[in-house]
Amino acid sequence: MIFRGKPLPDGSLVMAIVNRTPDSFFDRGRTFGLAAALDRVDEVVAQGAHIVDIGGVKAAPGEPVPLEEEARRVVEVVEAARDRHPDVVLSVDTYEPAVAEAACRAGADLVNDAWGAPHPETAQVAAAWGAGLVCTHAGGAAPRTRPHRVQYDDVVAHVVDTLTGLADAAVAAGVGQDSVLIDPGHDFGKNSRQSLAVTARTDALVATGWPVLMALSRKDFVGEVLDLPPDDRLEGTLAATAICAWQGARVFRCHDVVATQRVLAVVDAVAGRRGLAVGKRGLA
């Protein structure tokens, strides 16, 4: 994987969430202010995040955010983060081509088109800047909507077919073959069982050959297994993270960078994708 000339190492990787939003479901505005958002960027980079994903609009339904306002929110963070962390991959979480354009101009390397490509020209924006693109399955749901009695004959097949189509279209639009990620879009256009089914069949996504991004962090499909609110979904998120990493998913979009890194390190070590940090036991 390489995004705007920035190659990423082998092994499982963390994409840290930075919400420049007043109302996202977990952080609820904690990093809405520019200074707080930049502190968060510094923190997750120090913690070892390989990608920082900056968003200016919450995923759930709510007050519409004008394009100029969304662009202002993300561009301010991207510009300052680019300056402070020249080597970190900066991602912009948007489904709006104009916002992706503004963010790439400010230095973003990756466009996280998290709502199933409602505007196909977003791929052209990523291509024009040499940036990467995340292609996401949302089951045809309109952006910022909740699933309502969504049905699939075979949710895994639907996800695989949709994502291979979007990834091929991205490359046809000029995005680099090694700059495309696919994301099955947990909770997006899916009920919890459908998200669990996709989790169980991560291998089917990996088998497409495209690197797989998993956005699992503290989502409802974890919460509904446990009947717990977002604050209490870390362990469940990490369990799903381990399952997906074991099957070969590459990038994990998360709120909890340190915990996720530790889980991924153990999975990668078991899978033979990484060595020990220390190898003394029984070897003295």
């Binding site: 339904p61 009695r149 049905q151 949710v155 069982r193 089914a197």
Partner: protein, 206 residues
């Protein structure tokens, strides 16, 4: 038609779909059970509900499209499947009529009981599937008043276009009820709430 009951169609009404949360809707469950029980004296049952096509359907409830393990069966659309699930103990011969537009499949001759499967708006609050729409509460109130009145004309006055905009699946099934009722009826609404932001209406016309 001899008697009718109307019920909502949330898949979470079915315990195998809802998992542990099924027990949290006790009032709704009781209201549906009591409404459906009034249909038991008929010789046959007609179930109407929204479907991909306006036609007769056969088969069984198949929860697999919602991600729930189930048998590989010739499946009913979910609204009709929930109607089947609710009436499974009545022991009546059943016809299932799906409604996708204003075309209504033939009900057939002779007296029958009618189970009307459909919901009010899905936009009642900010956590609702369709988020908050300021028109939703008034729409559901109009539906409730029409159902409580037993007056077919009031039911027919419900706007299916607005219903679609508000993700309400009940309008066309309720119009079938109005057409089948032929005259004002003794009517009762026994449940009218929106616990998940979707308007659920339960009751009977006799």
């Amino acid at each position: 038609m001899v008697t009718a009951a109307f019920v909502p169609t949330p898949p979470l009404r079915v315990p195998e779909v809802a998992g542990g949360s099924a027990v949290r809707d006790d009032d709704l469950r009781r209201a549906c059970r009591d409404a459906v029980a009034t249909l038991g004296d008929a010789d046959r049952l007609v179930v109407v509900g929204s479907a991909p096509q306006s036609r007769r359907y056969e088969g069984r409830w198949d929860p697999r499209p919602f991600g729930v393990p189930g048998p590989d069966v010739h499946a009913l659309p979910y609204a009709l499947g929930i109607g089947q699930w609710l009436t499974r103990d009545l022991g009546l011969p059943v016809s299932f009529l799906g409604l996708a537009d204003d075309a209504v499949p033939e009900v057939g001759d002779g007296p029958y009981a009618l189970l009307v499967c459909g919901d009010g708006s899905a936009c009642r609050d900010e956590k609702a599937p369709g988020h908050l729409d300021p028109r939703a509460a008034g729409f559901d109130e109009q539906a409730e008043q029409a159902l409580a009145s037993g007056d077919p004309e009031l039911l027919l006055a419900l706007d299916p276009v607005l219903g679609d905009a508000l993700m309400a699946t009940g309008v066309r099934p309720w119009h079938v009820l109005a057409a089948a009722a032929e005259r004002p009826r003794t009517a009762e609404v026994t449940y009218a709430r929106a616990p998940y932001g979707v308007g659920y209406l339960v009751g009977t016309w006799r």
